[in-house]
Symmetry: C4
Subunit: 434 residues, 4 copies
């Protein structure tokens, strides 16, 4: 009857009983010798040498994973159990001295997935914790105490009610500043009569500055109040900051500083009107225009208040490799399709008004087509151009569809991690720690 079993060549007394965490696995000694240089193969050798009969060996290890281990000895194929986390499997493989690369391709994804998630969530938690710090107010006195208290209020909106109130006020100023900045550009809100500064009439371009900047009185007042507030805040935050170097390196503070520059430059211009003639005005206007953009980046102060934004930033940083991949794929698609559309739409000796008269305009068209935005400001108009355009739109859909699941993975992982952790008790401690 034993003939039915597959390994009947081994004598009955050569069976061993392996008790792994209370679960008994029976197997033939010969089976254990199938994987050389592992813990069990050495046990088998010892067992044979000792010459004893059927005997039980006890291992205080995870019993589920051992099913896969013993299966590897029996069949030579290492599949991992799907009911156990990959990290547990890794630990057990290390104990049983089996290489993780022996795992078959079909189970590899399940095995690595948990380990990857642990690694990426570990670095995410590490990043979050690096921002946190424990402050001990007990040991401080005098200026140090006040400095630390003020610093907590100014920079850490979740530490106290006062800090939260200040944080909201500060953020409302940011919103007001941005709103003013946007409204400024609407012609209806600007006074129609642009005042001419007669003394600055070295050339006609000075007016341009005046027209753009000379805005509605209400907006001017708002601008002034915001400027004063942000200047005071930045100075105060620098003064109370316990680590000046870290403060200076923080990109948010640099943005805050740069956002203040154009306002002071404007004041200088208005005060010393004759200086305006000496420096290259066109260049100054360019720089000031660019610096004015930095005012908009103050919106990133929201990161301090809004957890999800922090998650987005870390998720994008963790997916940097995948984002790079998306950009490279789009770049290649852009190069190929812009060249093809240029040649498809080119032979317009008859009609010299082809919209694709250069390859770089094809870059724009290809990107806008591949992201399926499709403005239609430049569109092909020849049969070959139609084919290239169709190929471009289908390729774009495919490229996005293929790469985006890989990118969105990390965000979903981080977001769900943060959300589920925030509903668990430790959250409260974290807030206190912060």
């Amino acid at each position: 009857i034993r003939n039915l079993t597959s390994k009947n060549s081994v004598a009955d007394d050569m069976r061993v009983l392996l008790n792994v965490g209370g679960v008994r696995h029976e197997t033939h000694v010969a089976t254990l010798r199938n994987v050389p240089n592992s813990r069990l193969s050495r046990l088998a050798d010892m067992h044979i040498n000792s010459g004893r009969g059927k005997q039980e060996y006890f291992f205080d290890r995870h019993p589920s994973v051992f099913n896969s281990i013993i299966d590897f000895y029996r069949t030579g194929e290492l599949h991992v159990p799907l009911e156990v986390c990959g990290a547990v499997v890794k630990r057990e493989l290390d104990f049983w001295q089996i290489e993780e690369l022996d795992i078959k391709a079909c189970c590899w994804r399940h095995y690595r997935q948990y380990i990857e998630n642990q690694r990426i969530l570990g670095s995410f938690n590490h990043s979050l914790q690096r921002e946190q710090m424990t402050v001990d107010l007990v040991g401080l006195r005098g200026w140090k105490l006040w400095q630390t208290k003020l610093w907590l209020i100014l920079d850490h909106p979740r530490t106290s009610r006062a800090a939260l109130a200040y944080g909201i006020v500060s953020f409302l100023f940011v919103v007001a500043s941005i709103a003013g900045f946007c409204l400024e550009t609407i012609p209806e809100l600007r006074p129609k009569v642009s005042y001419n500064i007669s003394s600055a009439s070295c050339n006609g371009e000075t007016k341009t500055i005046q027209v753009v900047m000379a805005s509605n009185t209400a907006l001017n007042v708002l601008d002034f109040i915001c400027t004063v507030f942000f200047t005071l805040e930045l100075v105060l935050r620098f003064v109370v900051s316990p680590e000046k170097l870290r403060f200076v390196r923080n990109p948010m503070n640099i943005i805050d500083l740069l956002a203040l520059v154009p306002l002071y430059v404007q004041v200088i211009f208005e005060q010393s009107e004759l200086q305006a003639c000496y420096i290259n005005e066109r260049f100054v206007i360019e720089i000031m225009f660019i610096l004015r953009i930095f005012r908009m980046f103050r919106i990133f102060h929201l990161v301090k208040h809004y957890q999800a934004l922090k998650v987005l930033v870390y998720a994008l940083m963790a997916s940097l490799q995948e984002l790079l991949m998306l950009f490279i794929f789009l770049l290649i698609g852009m190069l190929i399709f812009s060249t093809m559309i240029y040649y498809a739409e080119r032979n317009d000796s008859a009609r010299p008004d082809s919209e694709f008269n250069t390859i770089p305009i094809g870059f724009w068209w290809a990107i806008i087509t591949m992201t399926t935005v499709g403005y239609g400001d430049v569109t092909p108009s020849t049969p070959v151009g139609y084919i290239v355009g169709s190929a471009c739109s289908i390729c774009g859909v495919l490229l996005l569809a293929l790469t985006i699941p890989v990118i969105s993975n990390n965000f979903t992982l981080f977001y769900e991690h943060v959300r589920s952790r925030s509903t668990s008790p430790r959250k409260k401690e974290e807030v206190e720690e912060e």
Copy 2:
């Protein structure tokens, strides 16, 4: 031979046998002392104090989860079993007095997922049940009985055949009203000759009302019939409603009332034509135009008939936090890109016809680009503008791709829950209850 096992420092007689729900787990007593302040560590202390040898302890608990628990004692890492629902794990952790925060990050998602689903489905079921009520017709007599019967017919289309028939008739009236409302705006269906009310000729604007409202005879008749029906229905439903306060608070009833207002205002206008001159006509027209929109919201009466719409509403309510996140991300993207496109397209002293002459027009462009709609009514036309536009479209694709899986999760969960529950036997009871 025992030397092969990892924990051989402990004497053999210090092994304990833990029988958890019939499955025997063998381990060393020392292992059980690894996690302090837990049920098993106290058992270990007692066992040592009692001085007895190898002994079996019986626990009437889930055997699968105990694999992970004992593994935590052995290795210090708490991974959850993937073959068991997270809620079971939570219960067992509570019994064994182990903190859920000891669970490693890799298993956390699996662990919380089921608990989250249970929580969110629980509140969804709770919302659905709050709408249901059991009505006992047996104890009622006279007016009360009639009131309740009529109320069931008018407000609960699934309680009886009469109610269903009435519900369909009522919904057809809604459809007819909306169809008439839409057709009214088509110039071909309006009589070309607009009749002038000579007595209301205080100023020329009165004609505007007439032209818009004086519509085709057939549409006028339809409008009149619908108005009469909806008025009667609203009055009747108010009269028979057992809870007047709840009726008044119901947003659907407020919409129904507001949708009736413009029709009665029109009648008043036509009756007392001279009054039209006294009040500010332009303002009245504005209000009436807005009130006419409410007629369209009658489409939400469909919620009473169509389960999936209810699922959508609850799913959006449950995903409020995620929707807010999407809006904040789009808002930030909108602010950044509108500013950038404004400055990229700005230096048009030569060509003053730039499409992006204000930042708010950039808001529109950025939103339409980021949702990949891309109308093309405003498009960049400078090289820097092309780069900003490309960045905007790619960011839009990424933002949507990252946040939407998080949002769609709840809808899929609710929809599948409702669909699978509706095919199970309890469904019938629910309908009867309703």
Copy 3:
């Protein structure tokens, strides 16, 4: 020491041993009485009545599911094991006389998913098999034999090499017919001089027919050959069809017939030119134009050859409820947003050229925006219109994102099922059967 266990109120001799498929579960008798009217509660009653001590009961059932069953007795919460298919759980629940509605919401999805898949794949397999039939050529003689053989060749391209060859030829004719049909509409391929039939000059409209239909000679010849082929094929297929009623009911055959009509009508027109004056020509042209479209539907002959198309058709049919949901959601969105855009863009007494001068044009705009196509042929131009437009585009993205995962589920399921089954050995038999 037993005091540590949770159920120590029960005397030791009241413990029972349940041997389920070889796995021993130990529990207290009191535990088994927690769920009334179940198989185990009745066993517990009998055990107490018998007055025997600790005893083993054997059940020849699935041991994994019993973990959950006994856990339900212990804790009152029914969670299903995730390592077992829901259909197995259902069967075991039936055996142990436990209601499936006792399953907690968190595990419900896992439990139903497999049962749903089995149900939907079952009906899909059923549909596929209904098309198949076993034909026994042995018993046939004479005409019957020839008829069946021809019928197999004409209608079932996978039954023999001749049938496949004929199928390919037939499909090439379809492709040629469609190609000709498309090329016909290109002005360059039509002869510029349109011939006038002098005898049919009852009114000027007769020329319109001629211009449209009088096409290139090569295309005319192709059209003639295809017409002859399709006529012969249809007649032959009808003659050899063993079930005439089923043949007549088949929508593909009706399309084939209707696609032939316009060609014969044209011949009749050309032959009896004077008749053209008697019937309402404009109406005839309309009908014939519509009938010509049916030629395009011949592309669905591809279903016979291409498995994936069949999968698509069945998946859409199985997802009918979800498709309806998508349409209703789009319809509601369309109604709401078209009304809002109409009122947002309306107060154009100054500029009477608003693009949204009727609500139905808003329907078109809303659909094209919600599907993120965004042609830009009609776009809002007022600030309120911009807000409505932005809301519409975001709602569209959300609606599609929420409903599409629910729809695409069935297609993926069917596609993977068909693909994985086609690589397994049974496939061969199926082909033979067909």
Copy 4:
């Protein structure tokens, strides 16, 4: 009491104990006879014939899968365990002599998924390994050694630091060449005065070549340097290639060669100006224009350096069937909707300026609508056209949503496989091998 069990008709002594890998399964002998022609049914026959009582049979097999096997004997339904990889299930089914087609539809997907992944990852790994080769530099001397060393440097950028440096230099040349090629087409970078070759004045068309090709001096120099470099590189790589046939067959080398042709043709043209008159110039220009496109394909040299691009190429190749499906679905949609829009927009005897005056223009419109790009260069303008357009956009969204998850599967699988393998130790060996 045994009466409670379902199989009580069988005498107690007919129970058998199956010890599968240490786990004991008890069952009735009758149960084992339910599946004929299997290993266990034959065991049951033998057991009955032997006439022995309750006895234990030992099988050295996977215990988890046996749960499902014995469940199949008990109930006639074969469900697979979800905690074990499908490949293990397949192996065990083979051992127990049970057909895999007996697996129920609900479990089929889980079962095949791992086997499919193993198959597809196996062929992917096979493709990657075919590119690798082990080179033994020890046995080589003289020219052979130099040839092999140079070949490694030129063709395998990861074999040494010199090879990597050369690879980067080579790729920078590619980038420079492409950049020059793109900038060449910008009118501002071309010298406005186009030089006329007086001797080649056979007809006016010769100028066309000159205008296009006569570019900026800096670009001309860049072009010259790149041409020299690529020519030398191609010659050198051919000379040192150990397998000339494989070199010639490599599509990248053919692209490199074709990209060089137009530059040499230009030189020939300029040298032998009179020859230009003899050959058909228009045709030559066409060919040269097309050949110039090949320069852009040099971007695919990036495949050598960028792993993700290789993954994309293999994923698309592995998803060829699914891509074909997407194309066929889009093709069918294109044919149907272009015909419908042609007829919907056709009856413009009044307005002969319909944008859809041919069906092929409808092809373009349908593709651009179905991919949701929606340029808006051709849009419907009749009510029926609006309906067709809406249907087309919704169908497009559905088609993409249904087919894309099936396509993106392979890319995600390959990408995650490559990424997780690259972080494991074997990676290092692979690089060395290469």
